[in-house]
Structure formats: structure tokens, C-alpha cells
Symmetry: C2
Subunit: 361 residues, 2 copies
């Protein structure tokens, strides 16, 4: 079993990575401090794993909330279901919520935990590759707004994260690829050695070799934990984790939440960020080529949707959380494994890159 600690002082917590740990209650039951537990899952995952999770919780008083699956349901209105269930079951401040699902379930469950009675504890059990390597770690929680992704939320850290690699066995290929976009991200922004390792192992990873996947999830979590420990509330460096995300959020919002998976939009956004980094003269073109090749090998899109136009992109990007006092801040690369947060790219140069990528004028 692999194990690491996210170091945030009093809010520190462990991340456990191994096949089968969902069934190993002895390992993680101690992170549930009260008697009440509320499992939040969705209608795809619950039929697969809810029963075995509940088996481990036989000694607790358990209620459950099964949300509709998909990014389009990540809204304040759907969030209310969690509060309804918690109150109907008389759950108090000592309750623990458990997120059993992908990024959407984790973000919503975490946000509900942040807000219920002004904050209760929660545990992340990610069931997708994307959630294991990215969204379940670091305490970002929230819901979407029709005008922008993740616009309503909180920083709220879990008690622990359990990445059970066996849960990936039921993950559809498209979702698996989407998770790989975030895996590749870590190589690009802060871990050149890992990027090289990914180039060497991508075909085995796409074949879902458990040993290699375990290593990949661990490396991603170590990288994320380091960045988050330095800058929990994204005052500065944590923003590099958003490589491709400002472009990507614009795609998700424009195309309708869930039509492009988050990881797919991040992949296309990463391709744009690579192109922009080259256009700025900051990144050697061959690093861009290697990045694109790895995304393609992971069956990910590297071009934005052709039905979008430049103005739409710029308007949606202008609403992103990385905007500060009118300045659009983007994550760009200055080398393999080296990212910067920059507002130096002008609207003109961003437009040129979008046009070159096939976006309408």
C-alpha cells in the first residue's frame, strides 16, 4: 500500500492508495469520529459499490444520498438534496459525510460538508482516475453556476482520502482518458521526470496495469500535496494546478456541463496553453509536441470545439477565478515541468492562438 500525508498543520490528512482498501475498514474507520455517517454517491456508482461500503459501516448510523450522475447536476439546487437528507435523519455536527464517486460527487459532498451546520467532517473515496489524482485531494469543493464553473464553493479539507484502484475496473474508457489529462498535467507543470516516465509507460497505463496506475496516482498525489501544502487557498503558486483549466472551463461552460468531460476540456485547454507558451517564445516547440503526443496517446482531444468563436472564449475566460482586477491570468510553461502564472499574454496573442487552433473568428 502507498501512503502519503498532506501537511496542512491542524488540517493535515493521509491519502491511502492501494487496490482493495475500501474493504479494509480497520485502516480507515478511525477517521470517522462520530456515530453518524452520510454517504453521498451517484446513480452510476451506488449500484456498484454502495453495499460493500455500507458493510464496513455496520456499527454506524448510516444514511445515504444518491445524486443524479454528471456535471450538469453539480448545482446548488441538487446540493439541497444532501441537506434535506441530513436534516431528515437528524444528523448533527459530529456527523461524517463520505463522498463515494468521481469529481462531481466529491466536490458536492465536500461543499455540503463545508456548509452543513457551518462545517462537518468528510472523507473522500474517489471512484474515477480524475478524482484520485486531482479533485479528491486539496480541499477544493463547490458547485457550478450557469455562468461559470465552480463559482460557488469552499476550501474544506477531508479527514482522509482512500484511493482504491480496484474501483477503476468499472470506469468507462472515456472517463479513464479524461483522468489521464490531469495525470499528464502534473508532468508538464512540475515533474519532468514523471513526464518522461509517462512517455515510457503510457500504453501500459492505458491498458490499466494496476501496479503502474498505483505509481501514477501516488506521484500525482505527492505533487499535488506539495503544491497545496505551500499554498492551501491559492494565493499564488497553487494556481499552476490549473494548467489548461481557464480555456477548459470556457469550453465546459459554452458546450453545456457534461457534454465535454472536465478532463477532455482540460486536455484541449492544455493544448492551447502549450501553443500559447510557444507563441510567447517561452517554450521550445518540441516540448509542445511531446505534450500533444502524450494527450493523443491517452485518447484525448487536443483541439477546442470548432463551434466556439474567439469572443465567446474571451468572455467566458474573463469570468474565470484566475482573473484579478481585470487581468486575465493564465498558467503557461517555460519548460518541461516548469509553470508560471502570468498575465503577460495579450488578448491579441490569445486570439491568434485560438484562431490557429480552429476556433471561429
Amino acid at each position: 500500500m502507498k501512503h502519503l500525508e498532506l501537511d496542512l498543520g491542524a488540517r493535515s490528512y493521509p491519502i491511502f492508495i492501494a487496490p482493495g482498501i475500501l474493504g479494509d475498514g480497520a485502516l480507515w474507520l478511525k477517521y470517522i469520529r462520530g456515530q453518524q455517517v452520510c454517504i453521498v454517491s451517484n446513480d452510476t456508482i451506488a449500484p456498484l459499490y454502495l453495499a460493500s461500503l455500507k458493510q464496513q459501516l455496520a456499527d454506524k448510523s448510516v444514511c445515504e444520498v444518491i445524486l443524479p450522475d454528471g456535471e450538469s447536476h453539480k448545482t446548488l439546487a441538487v446540493l439541497e438534496n444532501i441537506f434535506d437528507t441530513l436534516l431528515q435523519a437528524n444528523h448533527n455536527r459530529s456527523t461524517t459525510l463520505i463522498a463515494l464517486g468521481g469529481g462531481v460527487v466529491g466536490d458536492m459532498c465536500g461543499f455540503a460538508a463545508a456548509c452543513y451546520q457551518r462545517g462537518v467532517q468528510f472523507i473522500q473515496i474517489p471512484t474515477t482516475l480524475l478524482a484520485m489524482v486531482d479533485s479528491s485531494v486539496g480541499g477544493k469543493t463547490g458547485v457550478n453556476h450557469p455562468l461559470g464553473k465552480n463559482m460557488i464553493g469552499a476550501f474544506h479539507q477531508p479527514n482522509c482520502v482512500l484511493a482504491d484502484l480496484n474501483l477503476l475496473n468499472t470506469l468507462p474508457d472515456r472517463e479513464f482518458s479524461a483522468g489521464m489529462a490531469e495525470v499528464i498535467k502534473y508532468g508538464l507543470i512540475c515533474d519532468a521526470d514523471f513526464f518522461v516516465w509517462l512517455e515510457q509507460n503510457m500504453s501500459a497505463l492505458m491498458g490499466r496495469d494496476t501496479e503502474l496506475l498505483s505509481e501514477a496516482v501516488y506521484r500525482c498525489c505527492v505533487n499535488k500535496a506539495n503544491v497545496v501544502a505551500d499554498d492551501e487557498r491559492e494565493g499564488g503558486r497553487r494556481a499552476i494546478l490549473n494548467l489548461g483549466h481557464t480555456f477548459g472551463h470556457a469550453i465546459e461552460t459554452a458546450e453545456g456541463y457534461g457534454n465535454w468531460l472536465h478532463g477532455e476540456a482540460v486536455a484541449a485547454g492544455t493544448a492551447l496553453a502549450l501553443a500559447l507558451s510557444v507563441k510567447m517564445g517561452w517554450l521550445p516547440p518540441e516540448v509542445e509536441k511531446r505534450g500533444l503526443a502524450l494527450l493523443v496517446q491517452a485518447d484525448l482531444p487536443i483541439a477546442p470545439p470548432p463551434n466556439m468563436n474567439v469572443d465567446q472564449f474571451l468572455q467566458l475566460m474573463g469570468r474565470d477565478k484566475k482573473v484579478l482586477d481585470g487581468q486575465l491570468r493564465l498558467i503557461l510553461l517555460t519548460g518541461l515541468g516548469e509553470a508560471v502564472v502570468s498575465s503577460e499574454a495579450s488578448v491579441e496573442i490569445i486570439s491568434q492562438v485560438l484562431l490557429a487552433a480552429g476556433v471561429g473568428a
Copy 2:
């Protein structure tokens, strides 16, 4: 002008108390760090004070959200209006929200600030006595749920609190009295000298003597600031600020939000807490009498609504945030100015006190 500081380390902030400070931008504009400002108010207060507030903000980029007035609108659904406006106006993470209103506006604006883009800054400009002495100070924010009051929220501290006593000139008598319930609370729970001062000055206070009101607001804020500085997130002692509130929340929820004002429900709840404290043998009956006399002098109810019954009370109280692992914890008095958090009162003894107060069997 009176001025105190709530000491919370990096989250410390000043509270300014004086007639006319709303017009003294030189004093408080420095607490707005960015260019964007969003004023949140309601349809009663906005016609009275929005224009003069905006005059002070002439150099800022200002948008506004006018909510419907009243506790019944303190919901997640109404909260969405704030997010809609912020996103439509492209407000980013450096925006500052300003709550211009009573407790409902302050709680909702503060919660919106806690959640918008995972947290932006905000300022409290309370316009009711209750908000000046209690809800605007200490960072509790949130909305109600049909099944329980303030069940969804966050701890989020403002940048500063501006208590402009001139704003009380337009406050209806019933709301003024409601605020006095929280004023009396501070005397009962932690400041016997202040309680005696209130006994001596209540009739002049009810006549809205500005000098005396200023002193009362200051004393309340000093007491609240001390309690909150010791226990920001209510792990322990902060709970004493909820004297009468567990009973009171049950009344508010049962009667429909807004039919009993929060302060009225707290007054009736305080009367029940006093009676229970006496029944436990912890409080001399003459302190109960002095407490009731002061509530009556402030034109406040001291009996619960007769249409409620004991079971309804107990069920609603069982859902309160002060419940921990099934134990109902109540704030009781052991003397004038001395409160404890206790789960020693049995359901039987609470029922007896409710029945004696006229609640149905």
C-alpha cells in the same frame, strides 16, 4: 466614536460604533481592497440608505442586489440572486461585498462572500439593533432550511463592521425590541455589571437615547468579541452566546420564519432557559425574576406560542446545532452573568418547564 478590535490573528478586524459613520468614507474605505464592490441590501433598507452608501463608493465599480425583506427569504434559492448578480457583473476574487441591512442581509451576504469563488471579502453595515450587537460580529453566516434555522452556512469574518447609530432612527419599535433581547442576553450570560446598568437605563434606551445606545452596542460588542476571540468556531465556550436560542429556533421553525422575529423567539427562549436554570436548582429565582422584568420592560414576549406542544418543541430542539451525538446541549445560568453549556437537563425536566410555561401537552 467608539472602536474595538476583534482579535483573531490574521482574521482580526475593527468594529466602529458612532452616529453618522456611514458618511465617513475616509474612515472605512481603506477596508475595501479592490475596485469592485457589490452591495447586498433589502427592499426596506435600500430606499433609505443605499444612495448615501453609493455616494461614498463613487470611485468604485459598484453593483447591487436588493433582496426581499424578512427571515422567510433567508434561503439557498434567494442566495442565488447574489451569485447571479456577481457573475453577470463579472466580479472576480478581489471583489468586496457590503451587507447593508439587518441580520438576514448580513447572514446571507456573509455566506455569499464565503462561497463566491470559494471566498471573497465583505463588510458589515448593520441597520438593526440586533445586527449591531450580535449577528454582524463574529463571522457566523448562513441561510435557513425548512427543517432548521441557520443549518447551512459558514464561518467567514468581515473586514470591518460599521455600526452607524443613526440608522436605528428608522427601525420599527418591534424590531428595536427584538434587538434588545440580544442586548439583555450579554448581561445574563457574562456581564453582571452590564445587566445592572441595563436595569438602570432600560427606559432611556427604549426611548432611543443615542449616547446610551452607543454605550450598549459597545458593551455588547466587547463581550461578543471576547467570547469569539477565545473560540471562533464554537468548539466550546462560544455556545453560551446561544442562551435561549435552542428554544428560540424551535419557535421560529414551528411558527414559520419571520412570524416571530428572531429576537422575540430568543426572548421567549431566554425565559424558558431562566425557568429551567431555576428548576435545576442552579439559579436563584430572583435572578430569573430580574431577567423576566428586563425582557418585559423591553416589550418582549416571555412565553412561548401556546399553539406549540411539548413533542414539537423537543423534536425541533433535537435538530439544533448544539446537539452532539444525540445529547441535547442547552445554555443555562448558574448565576447573574454566569452561563454554562450543559446536557444535564433531562427530557422530563425540560418537558415540565415547557408545560409550566403554557406549552400544550
